[in-house]
Amino acid sequence: MTEYYIKLTLGEFCQELDLSERACADLIGYGIISPQGEGPEDWKFDVTMISAIRRAIRLRSDLEIDWHDVALISKLIDERDSLIKENELLKQQLRRFLQF
């Protein structure tokens, strides 16, 4: 029942999100997600990409912005999250370094 290292095909991915393949290809074109593989036949989608698309759809509809803006905001959110994580790690290392 547990699926872990799942890679979804384009068809499975679209079914999961209730999207047409065309719409999915458009989102890939905007750079919101980047599946592995050369073209639609080979594309393999990671489970985290489901969340990324859901977030993109929420952002577009809630903030009433276009897909270019969504792609930019998604990229900036990911970068921000990664910097927050890196900052936490560095702070933690600094604390360890100062504690003795």
Binding site: E3, E16, L59, I77
Partner: protein, 319 residues
């Protein structure tokens, strides 16, 4: 029931036009959107702003709301006028919403427009009476030690329970989940059809477990590598030594070279976190620590060292 002042929530006045309301909504939505905002109450604020815009951004709902505002009694709980019936909400159809009781009382549980937040902007092929259940995402805290091998964890969560007219309660669910070896922070495990129940003929949603590695008292995680800071006495750093350090799977002894500096890193291969293919490395970061207390004998030895050594760490300082 608390009266909701939608105008105040959006920071607009009843005289403001639709364009101003839209502008105010967009500004606040960007500020509070849970995907964007880092404020702790962002989700609550965003729901309030969304609810306010759902009403004030729709001419019919706004007209009904303006009508009902006359019945607001300041300081007391709000009760709608006798015989109040929503006009703008569709009746008899289920639609999940997080809006307030106030909204539900005024516009019905189904007052939220169908083509709104959370729906696919591309298409909606679902039969409105048969809706797939909601996907649920939960955090799964995992100890670093538990990533070394497959583990079984028990999780408990609640799912909504639906009757013919919508949600009628919730049910508690318990599941045993296998957490595979080598899970990483932020990764997701999907449990198919273990999410919210579908409505009508719609299937159940999925349950996603988002892995969160629990911070370790000794090790910091960088990707698959681990870092550990190891204190050394000044003479250990000067002369070199062997130190025993903990790893996730037992203690090991490492050689510290003579003349080691604070901040020097020793790489211990394949003692980090496991991946599908191999394990990351463990980095031992050295830190020279002065003794807390000195007696007269050790002070004398330091003095001797000071006289004999020509070392000055500030030789090029400020040059």
């Amino acid at each position: 029931m608390e009266f909701k002042d939608y105008y105040s929530i959006l920071g607009v006045t009843p005289e403001d036009d639709k364009q101003s309301i839209k502008k105010a909504y967009r500004r606040l939505a960007r500020k509070y959107h849970p995907d964007v905002s880092t404020e702790h109450n962002a989700e609550h604020n965003f729901k309030e702003v969304s609810e306010a815009y759902e009403v004030l951004g729709d001419d019919d709902k706004r007209a009904e709301y303006d009508q009902i505002r006359q019945f607001e009694s300041h300081g007391n709980s709000f009760t709608p006028p006798p015989g109040w019936k929503p006009k703008s909400g569709a009746e008899g159809q289920y639609h999940e919403t997080d809006f307030s009781d106030f909204f539900a009382t005024l516009f019905g549980d189904n007052g939220r427009s169908k083509n709104t937040r959370g729906f696919s902007p591309f298409e909606n092929t679902e039969d409105f009476y048969s809706t797939r259940g909601q996907d649920i995402e939960m955090e799964m805290p995992v100890f670093l030690e538990d990533t070394l091998r497959e583990n079984t964890k028990t999780i408990e969560y609640s799912l909504p329970k639906y009757g013919p007219t919508g949600q009628v309660g919730s049910v508690e669910k318990t599941l045993k989940v296998k957490i595979p070896m080598g899970v990483g922070d932020g990764e997701r495990i999907r449990l198919k059809s273990q999410g919210g129940p579908g409505f009508g003929d719609g299937g159940a949603g999925d349950l996603y477990l988002r892995i969160r590695l629990i911070p370790h008292p000794l090790f910091d995680v960088t990707g698959r590598d681990l870092n550990i800071t190891v204190p050394l006495a000044p003479w250990e750093a000067a002369l070199g030594t062997k130190v025993t350090i903990p790893t996730l799977d037992g203690k090991i002894t490492v050689n510290v070279n003579p003349e080691s500096q604070t901040g020097a890193k020793l790489r211990i291969k394949e003692k980090g976190l496991p991946d599908k293919a191999k394990r990351g490395d463990l980095y031992v970061i050295l830190k020279v620590v002065m003794p807390d207390e000195e007696n007269s004998e050790t002070k004398k030895l330091w003095a001797q060292l000071s006289e004999k050594s020509g070392f000055c760490p500030r030789k090029n300082f400020g040059k």
